[in-house]
Symmetry: C2
Subunit: 423 residues, 2 copies
């Protein structure tokens, strides 16, 4: 099935807002084996919208139109849809009642111009929006089925998952259940993962498991899309592939599905009644900022210390007087972690110290990273060198530090060479 996405709105067209709705929609459709063939971006202009609808109607089977369902004068989607089909706009009494109730529950009176949101092209099918006042709808224009969606991301995402994807799958003749399994990893490049996972799809010979990747440095997401007759069939097919992926990527898998590295670290600490102190230099608060604001971190995250200067670090942690004048080493990172452990009373302390190359930012600017972890029982450390400019080093070091802590908490080797490391 050929699908087009039309994003509407002057704010998107003029670049005032980045069009994340397009990538979110396209990615989500891909996850269900549906491919977008064409994307169109147009402003809040009647003639252009009509031209865009007509072009799409002539070249694809299904169209998702995003935006233009609001209450204001420049929200034109319903009007232009009606014009494209050659029907009138009709008041949808049921949606009007829903909107009035929506405002009542918030102790507000519905402004008169919201009534416009209940005017739908005659014959349109309503697509429910349980969390907003914009009414989604579907209708045929020419040979294509059009789905009209709100611009607010969370309303769009819910409508896409609950209303549109099932209809698209039905239209494309797919009766299967489709399930997406995700693995998040750090330390292996995309082509390396691709090579490591060669052939895993073939563990299910009927082609119902598809492998894909999404890289967002420093992490890479490995995705398995599985089709089955029902959810039991999906799980039966997924089980051996899932197991094989875990075996081949091993310690590099840091989280699965909706989990995050920082969430996994906090959960591992919570499980053992642990707590954490973090010491940072050039990552500059970035590690703390990933962990410490999360719900539940109030008691688990004891303390974070940021210093760029080693004398300040020496002073903040009461380190020996010669600390700042010596070169950074893995042993120094252990010393710092031990001091933070003692000072904070946390069960675990993580120190990430960075010796950044001198000079202006450039693609071959690197940093030597020293990670130390201390507990009551011991201190461990790891050194790595990452090259790729200030931001690349900063993001990589924060990820490396958190990943070392995850490995330590899970009893895995803290030191395992990664692809981003330079000798």
């Amino acid at each position: 099935m050929r699908i087009e996405i039309i994003c509407t709105g002057d704010e998107v067209l003029t670049g005032k807002i980045v069009n994340t709705n397009f990538s979110t929609m396209s990615q989500k459709l891909e996850d269900f084996g549906l491919s977008v063939r064409w994307g169109t971006i147009v402003g809040d202009d009647r003639q252009t919208l009509l031209a865009a609808f007509r072009l799409a109607a002539g070249r694809v089977d299904a169209v998702i139109v995003n935006g233009g369902l609001g209450p204001t004068i420049d929200d034109l989607s319903q009007e232009v849809a009606a014009e494209a089909v050659g029907v009138d706009l009709v008041l949808n009494e049921a949606w009007l009642a829903r909107m009035e109730e929506f405002f009542q529950r918030r102790s507000r009176v519905m402004p008169p111009n919201n009534r416009k949101q209940a005017m739908l092209p005659a014959g349109a099918e309503v697509l429910d929006n349980p969390i907003g006042t914009a009414c989604g709808f579907a209708l045929d224009i020419g040979g294509a089925r059009f789905f009209f969606t709100p611009g607010v991301p969370r309303e769009l995402n819910r409508m896409l998952e609950e209303q549109i994807i099932p209809r698209l799958l039905a239209l494309s003749g797919v009766t299967a259940v489709i399930h997406l399994k995700r693995f998040h990893s750090y330390g292996l490049g995309e082509s390396h993962i691709d090579a490591l996972l060669a052939g895993v799809e073939d563990l299910v010979p009927d082609g119902s498991v598809k492998l894909g990747f999404r890289a967002h440095y420093p992490e890479i997401e490995t995705k398995l899309t599985v089709r089955g007759t029902d959810i039991a069939d999906v799980h039966r097919k997924l089980a051996p592939v899932e197991q094989e992926v875990r075996k081949r990527l091993g310690n590099f898998i840091l989280a699965e599905d909706g989990q995050t590295l920082e969430g996994v670290v906090l959960a591992a600490l919570a499980e053992r009644g642990g707590s954490l102190a973090v010491v940072e230099t050039f990552t500059a608060g970035h590690i703390a900022a990933r962990l410490a604001h999360l719900p539940g971190a109030e008691k688990l995250f004891c303390r974070g210390i940021v210093a760029r200067d080693l004398i300040q670090l020496q002073d903040a942690l009461g380190l020996p007087a010669d600390f700042a004048s010596a070169a950074l080493t893995a042993a120094a990172a252990e010393l710092v972690a031990r001091a933070a452990w003692r000072q904070s009373g946390a069960t675990h302390a993580l120190a990430v110290l960075i010796d950044l190359d001198e000079g202006a930012d450039r693609i071959d600017l690197g940093g030597s990273i020293y990670v130390g972890i201390a507990t009551e029982r011991e201190a461990v450390s790891r050194r790595a060198r990452i090259v790729g400019g200030r931001e690349w080093v900063r993001l990589g070091a924060a990820e490396l530090g958190l990943d070392c802590l995850r490995r330590y908490l899970h009893g895995l080797p803290v030191h395992q060479r990664i692809d981003f490391e330079k000798v």
Copy 2:
């Protein structure tokens, strides 16, 4: 002049990467008074690309094609452009020499498939790319001028600014010099700024100054686009408007043009030989992470302390034993700032303490924010309440804290009511 942008590439079409190139291009063209009328997104598919080029050639005057100039088999822009015009691809010897030199300077041998990047449609005009191997080019397809650009953002941006925008301005008959002046503010909503600045454009009666906004919470950017016969004319026209904007937005302007709030704060500290310590709770390292990694912050940023729990904070700063059991107040923020000032030896200490509402995240979850600033001379504070969910409070509090420090360093009132504040 009608302009279309065609973004090409499977990674963009499938949503694997967010299409920031589109918004960057569109925004930059808007800044020069050039408006994009239509956006198209297509994959690395010969037939679709050809169809997209032909459609664009029929409906606009100029087209920017982004992506597809790489060395691999799925980079099709040159080939499809040649096909659309009905000419052959010809080796551009000059560009080939440039590429060979590019590799030599990096002590590498040019791989044979890079040669493909020097094959251009016969008659195409070269658009220089001084920082990459992808050769930009321009040619006419039908009635429209097409500009082909690389997908790598920094190469695209440079080519757009240096090569394409001047050509588009010339094509559209603009002989004027166009200049963009930007003001960054925090604390005033977009409609409030719009009202405050009513009529400033009319200070230059010939319509050559245009006002615009771009909101990216918590900051809002106010933009003045000025046209003049030459740069002297631009500055003459801009001067009174610029002065009026500064007068009307006053203390709320936190930075101009390429400056950032954190850069302004660091510069103000550096100017007086000062230094900084920061104490954070729910902002969780976010304030430190904005400042401390910047070039030059090594000596200015003394120390950052993060704690979510008041007992930890009490312990980390050696505060009185009843600190953690008392309610947060502005006085408590002053106390914390004083302690951090003493402990760190910095000339200035900033404390941002947050009392976050209980319960799950929701749109009406708020936080009471207590900002304290301490120096040798005094301690000052400010309280604010922000409502809008965890992320909204966290980002707003970090901005509020940094902005209070900017105001203090510049001798402006630290306490001035902002639009995002609830009573």
